[in-house]
């Protein structure tokens, strides 16, 4: 960028704010659907209908992520032909309208089969919109940024996905607490979808006032716009080889680390370990808040030492430490064997730390006990009762864990230990994700930048990353046997570990660390 076009710090922060706010809203819109998927599945996809169940699986797990690369192609092309500004106005409007509409779709009971079809279509639109948003926002900010601070300024965009997740968790928790569980499960779940339109309209207003990217304006004046950015990006070897390198040497690993540290961690804590719903959300929210500043730290650091070493360091740390971290998380909630044996005689020998509520055919047992490392946690278990009123261990039908905090008297308290282990994972996320926007935009020329960077980004994140919880959960299911009905709780980690390890090796040998800054402006 020439000196005349270089923006002052204040003007640049306005550009970043306008871009980031819209991107954050898009992530929020995308994530509230995922967070509320269990309720949406019940409302729109009744399990007794096999076809509806099929649609539920598609809509809930795959559709929104899988369609992102197609959005990248459609809107990337538009952004390179028409301009960055108007393209990501379109993506923001599409996302906002589809999200708002989800909040109004009548349930399966009210309109029958039309309900799940409408939901699936709206989810696909969300995925398409998101596929077009990120490439535009990152490109737009990068093309305004000074050469030596590109990593720092684009890292603001990198915070938006995590902050969008945080916002979605916060809005859902707040709505749930305000309305109560019954009302929330009935219709209150629609409120987070309705709320997004206000944020979208504010973002649209701000984006309408933004100017076009100076670099795009420059190549437009010079008549250097690509006539066919898709063809140029993906059929011409000089660029296609860079698209493949970006995917297999950087974004593939970044995607699995991102989704493991935030989504799979949440799934593991809530479903595998049984930690209570609200506690799980608070753990994630606190860890996110603590780790978010590091996006900026590593983005800025990448301006000094290069993008490659930081991204690869994050991947390597994730590969080496996921297993011990998840073992640590697991250990925090496991009952020692001696306590399991004592529980066989609960009815006869309850102790002062046990409260038993007898519901006739089942017992609700709330027990405060000392877990691993002397940590105090509380569990509530529901157990079926046999005819002789004994309670064998293997009749437990559900188990919820509350991790005690600073009041536990344990050092460190279990709640904060769990939060720290999640924080570590999100720290790896900031390392792999903080510099990657700058890395991707620097890899490709201006005339095809939006198209070229968007596709590998959304394959790496939407496909490799977005399907992480699905694949990891599937691996756990497959590991279940008659002798081990719960399966191996850690086997799901092999997916992100192997993908990140392969990406690390490819990135280590093939990724360039520094690019010629003058090439960015071509």
């Amino acid at each position: 960028m020439s000196n005349n076009e270089q923006k002052s710090g204040w003007e640049l922060m306005k550009v970043i704010f306008a871009s980031s706010l819209g991107t954050l809203i898009e992530w929020y819109d995308f994530y509230i659907y995922g967070a509320l998927a269990p309720i949406i599945a019940v409302q729109f996809f009744p399990s007794e209908n096999p076809t509806a169940a099929f649609l539920a699986a598609l809509a809930t797990f795959a559709a929104g992520f899988v369609v992102r690369p197609f959005g990248a192609l459609v809107f990337g092309r538009l952004g390179d032909l028409v301009g960055r500004k108007y393209t990501f106005l379109v993506t923001l409007l599409l996302m906002g309208v589809s999200t708002f509409a989800i909040g109004f779709v009548p349930t399966y009971k009210e309109i029958g089969f039309a309900a799940p079809i409408i939901i699936l279509v709206l989810r696909l639109i969300q995925g398409l919109a998101l596929g077009g948003e990120y490439g535009g926002a990152a490109t737009y900010v990068a093309e305004h940024s000074p050469v030596n601070r590109r990593g720092y300024y684009t890292s603001f965009i990198q915070t938006t996905a995590t902050l969008g997740l945080l916002l979605s968790l916060g809005v859902i928790l707040t709505t749930k607490n305000a309305l109560g569980d019954t009302v929330f499960n009935d219709w209150g779940w629609r409120v987070p979808f309705w709320a997004s339109i206000i944020l979208v309209l504010v973002s649209v207003y701000i984006r309408l006032k933004m100017a076009e990217s100076p670099l795009f304006s420059k190549i437009k004046r010079e008549g250097k716009i690509s006539k066919n950015p898709l063809k140029e990006s993906f059929t011409q070897k000089p660029n296609l080889k860079l698209v493949l390198l970006a995917l297999f040497g950087a974004v593939m690993g970044q995607g699995v680390v991102w989704y493991t540290g935030q989504f799979y961690a949440q799934t593991f804590i809530e479903r595998t370990l049984g930690v209570e719903f609200e506690q799980t959300r608070y753990i994630l929210m606190i860890a996110i808040l603590a780790a978010t500043p590091f996006f900026l730290v590593f983005g800025a650091l990448s301006d000094r030492i290069g993008r490659k070493p930081i991204m690869l360091a994050g991947m390597l740390l994730a590969v080496l430490s996921y297993r011990p971290i998840y073992q640590g998380m697991y250990n925090l909630t496991q009952m020692p064997p001696q306590q399991e044996i004592r529980n066989k005689h609960l009815l006869r020998v309850p102790d002062e730390n046990t409260l038993i509520v007898d519901k006739g055919d089942s017992l609700f047992i709330t027990k405060k006990w000392t877990g691993a490392y002397g940590l105090i946690i509380r569990t509530e278990e529901k157990r079926t009762v046999s005819a002789d009123r004994s309670v064998p261990v293997n009749t437990m039908t559900s188990r919820t864990v509350w991790l005690s905090g600073l009041d536990s008297g344990s050092i460190p308290p279990p709640f904060w230990s769990m939060t720290f282990l999640v924080f570590l994972q999100i720290l790896f996320v900031t390392m792999v994700y903080g510099p990657i926007a700058a890395f991707l935009v620097e890899l490709f020329p201006t005339r095809i930048r939006y198209t070229s960077m968007s596709l590998p980004y959304h394959i790496g994140n939407g496909i490799f990353g977005g399907l992480t919880p699905l694949i990891a959960t599937r691996l756990v299911d497959v590991s279940k046997t008659a002798d081990n009905p719960a399966g191996d709780p850690f086997v799901g980690l092999w997916y992100p570990i192997i993908i990140a390890a392969v990406c690390f090796v490819i990135g280590f040998f093939y990724l360039p660390n520094k690019r010629d800054p003058d090439e960015f402006n071509t």
């Binding site: 096999p50 598609l58 797990f61 080889k241 399907l467 392969v502 040998f509």
Partner: protein, 72 residues
């Protein structure tokens, strides 16, 4: 040279990836032909097979020396 000939590894990895997906799907269809098994593999295989092709192409470009120091 290592970077160049490692292209064979990436091509082999791509082929192995497709093989392992198809083989695992066959095993699971035999053991548990439930709807969710089919949903999973009918989603995963069409999505990841083109990506494995891309990995193979990456390996081919490596063998052709396209990722040499001066070329990236």
């Amino acid at each position: 040279m290592v970077k160049q000939y490692a292209g064979i590894i990436w091509i082999a990895l791509a082929a192995f990836g497709v093989y392992i997906m198809v083989r695992q799907a066959e095993i699971e269809f035999d053991q548990n032909p439930a709807l969710d098994t089919r949903i999973f593999w009918y989603t995963i295989i069409p999505i990841f097979t083109p990506i494995m092709f891309g990995l193979g192409l990456f390996g081919y470009y490596c063998l052709k020396g396209e990722y040499g120091q001066s070329k990236v």
